[in-house]
Amino acid sequence: MMNEQWRAVCRLDDIEPETGVGVRLPDHRQAALFRTRDDRLFALDNHDPFSHANVLARGLLGSLQGRRVVASPIYKQHFCLDTGQCLEDEGVRLSVYPVRVSQGQVELLVEPSP
């Protein structure tokens, strides 16, 4: 039944390597979907908990001490792409969405809203 929650959001070609795009999800939710230069895909909340703006898709990608991260474009906090954990604030962790590519389409696994 899990398969039913995978939703296609765009084609892989729609994302330039080493950048991110915003994704609209149901119930006013937004995800930030990233494609790295080595063609790995990550998806986190797009909502930046520090500025309350939906901007993380526009952050710069990189690595810090071995962790793949995105930096908020507003106040520059870093979030781990694998776990959503904020590196500067232990108490802040973003939701992470599993991502896969199926027939050229990028799909996110989205849990229904509580």
């Binding site: 959001v9 765009c10 729609d14 994302i15 330039e16 390597p17 080493e18 950048t19 795009v21 915003g22 994704v23 609209r24 006013h28 937004q30 979907l33 790295t36 230069r37 930046d48 500025s51 309350h52 703006a53 939906n54 901007v55 526009r58 952050g59 710069l60 990608l61 990189g62 690595s63 810090l64 001490q65 793949r68 991260v69 930096a71 474009p73 507003i74 520059k76 870093h78």
Partner: protein, 841 residues
Amino acid sequence: MNEQKVLLIGHGMVGQRFLEALTARDTGRRYRITVLGEEPRPAYDRVGLTRYFADRDAAALSLLPDGFLEEHGIELKLGTRAEHIDRQARTVRTDSGETLHYDKLVLATGSYPFVPPIDGNDRDHCFVYRTIEDLDAIIAGGEGARVGAVVGGGLLGLEAAKALHDLGLETHVVEFAPRLMAVQVDDAGGGLLRDKIQDLGVTVHTGTGTRAIVDGQDHRHRMDFGDDRHLETDLIVFSAGIRPQDTLARECGLSLGERGGVMIDDHCLTSDPDIYAIGEVALWDNRVFGLVAPGYQMAEAAAAHLDGDREAAFRGADMSTKLKLMGVDVASIGDAHGATPGARSTVFMDQAAGVYKKAVVSECGKKLLGAVLVGDAADYGTLLQLCLNDMDLPGDAAALVAPAAGEAPALGADALPDTAQICSCNNVSKGDLCAAIDAGCHSVGELKAETRASATCGGCAALVKQVLDTELEKRGVAVNNHVCEHFAHSRQELYHLVRVDGIRTFEELLARHGSGHGCDVCKPTVASILASCWNEHVLDPALAGLQDTNDYFMANMQRDGTYSVVPRVPGGEITPDKLIVIGEVARKYDLYTKITGGQRVDLFGARVDQLPAIWRELIDAGFESGHAYGKAMRTVKSCVGSTWCRYGVQDSVAMSIRLEERYRGLRGPHKIKMAVSGCTRECAEAQSKDVGVIATEKGWNLYVCGNGGMRPRHAELFAADLDDDQLIRAIDRFLMFYIRTADRLQRTAAWRENLEGGLDYLKAVILEDSLGLGEELDAQMAHIVETYQCEWRATLADPEKLKRFRHFVNDEGDDDLVYVREREQRRPAYPHERIPVLEDA
């Protein structure tokens, strides 16, 4: 609470230092401090007073840090004079009729200028030279005047003479003694100084006393010197020494010296154990100290003693000085006149070069007792250290002053003992510097902030740097200026690697010189370096992923994630039609509109998906990108200049447009701001910019490395009276040299302050091409100018680039933005305003 009431009378340099010393000790708020200041403004840098003539900026001289009074609960009553001290009741009455109680009283009333008792000394247009108000009066008196005279040829007198000279007056110095600076230099040195000052166009009359001042025939005054000699002048400045401002102390019966000054002991206590005196009002060992460094030492000693440190003491001070008088270096160290029994002098004089040096050596020939330097004071630091630390001379005494065949025997910072006083203004020893270095200060700036070394007159700055370098080297500290964990190189090194290897992508640089995936620090840094070198479009596929969001969307991100748009308005000149287009675009997209400090219009609240349409309309109307989003050349602000202004001497608008169109799109280590003023009134505020240009009768004066913002810095005069082409060539080279050598996010002001060799070095490189880089820098700038393109125009013509401008990859718009209307425009809602809105929805 056992709170003690401390009353300080006088808020000058020494008074402020006392406040800082006492509050630094007073962590428990044991003192309730009140300050009476007679002048209308808080403490300012009287040593740097002449700067006021150049910039007329009283705030720049202020010594009172923002928030200092509030932080320490100090009450400062300005424009308030203390009229009477009642020692029995321990109260002070002010001229506003208030009576203030004290437990401890500190007199820091300073001194007043001595005006010789000459008939006519109280005529109009007779001035003294001590306060900002005095300077304002002199400036006002200079209007319509042609000739000015200064009575007094000492240190302050020559500073006053410089000021009159700069006001454009034919200037005379009238000195009673047979030579200038009689206290600090000897006859031969004074003679040379006189020659040099006369060469600058100031007439010096030594051995000349003024008998009376009467009405002149051709000018306001006539100064009669006796023997039928006289001088006609329009204004007179008395600068014939100072007298302690000791009236209050005299009237309440404190012990004074025969010739004035409040007698103090080693703790700066007066004859009343509840009253201290510090600074120029104080008389210690029958001496008044007319320099700021001893005053600071008294302030520290008094604060420490008041706070219970019974050991704290003032034990006299070194009166050595080094200064630049009208462009002439003059220094005096220790026993300059050879008054010590058995002292012998070695003198070097080169009249052609205008250099005089004298070393006074002890009878045994091994110790330096004093020195006089005129025309070249480069050895001041070395000689002062030899003298103060009683060190054995490194060689023959003659080698100290003569330009030997090789290098003069330099005194390495390493050779100095820990007790060596490096900064006499703030009493900082080499040991203090070492302790601060151990505590983690690894730059001159940090050392200065921590210890205050070189923070007052700056005379020891080179020595501080030397101590820092040798101590860091000793500790094996390699100062790490690596950009980030991905590159073990500084920005300057990366720039060099990009240039030399012809690298055009981040991947290539990372593969050859770095490691990992990069990050939000090194990516924009490298993007900026690549742009400075090759000037390719920021959204080219290989570069887009490196850009910070502002460069990526070519707009400035605001707090709600939308952007602001700034079209270029070169020189701030805009036609009504174009202004209307901006207004219509703003109205159509409901953009919040604000005028910027750089003379353009900022349009806020555009979503990423709206940016291309907005720019299509702006570009169709003839606008282009303003690069407000980039670490790039922003604007060239201008005043209206000779096109309209009745004072303008050059066409500042035309020049600013020429500069803005030349350097538009140039990316650098940080943003770059410029301005052009059409006359010396400086309405464009060019002296607060990275590059400032001020028109003169003959051409343009170029100022560099100014800054507004958090740490304002006045730009420095770099070159004078340039013609148009000389100006542009100098700016070309200056900018490319900055781009080549600065650190990441380092504005020109910070770059300049960290530049070894300072302004002189920069002038040598840029104006004299001392490194032979000139043609290379010219060619690099020419490439940038030739390859300029409007980034927005190029983007609108490229469907691939336009695809990026959407908030959602799978939908349109962004429905999560909430706005509030305020003063007829919209702004993003604050979090507390959003909640009810969302609940309603």
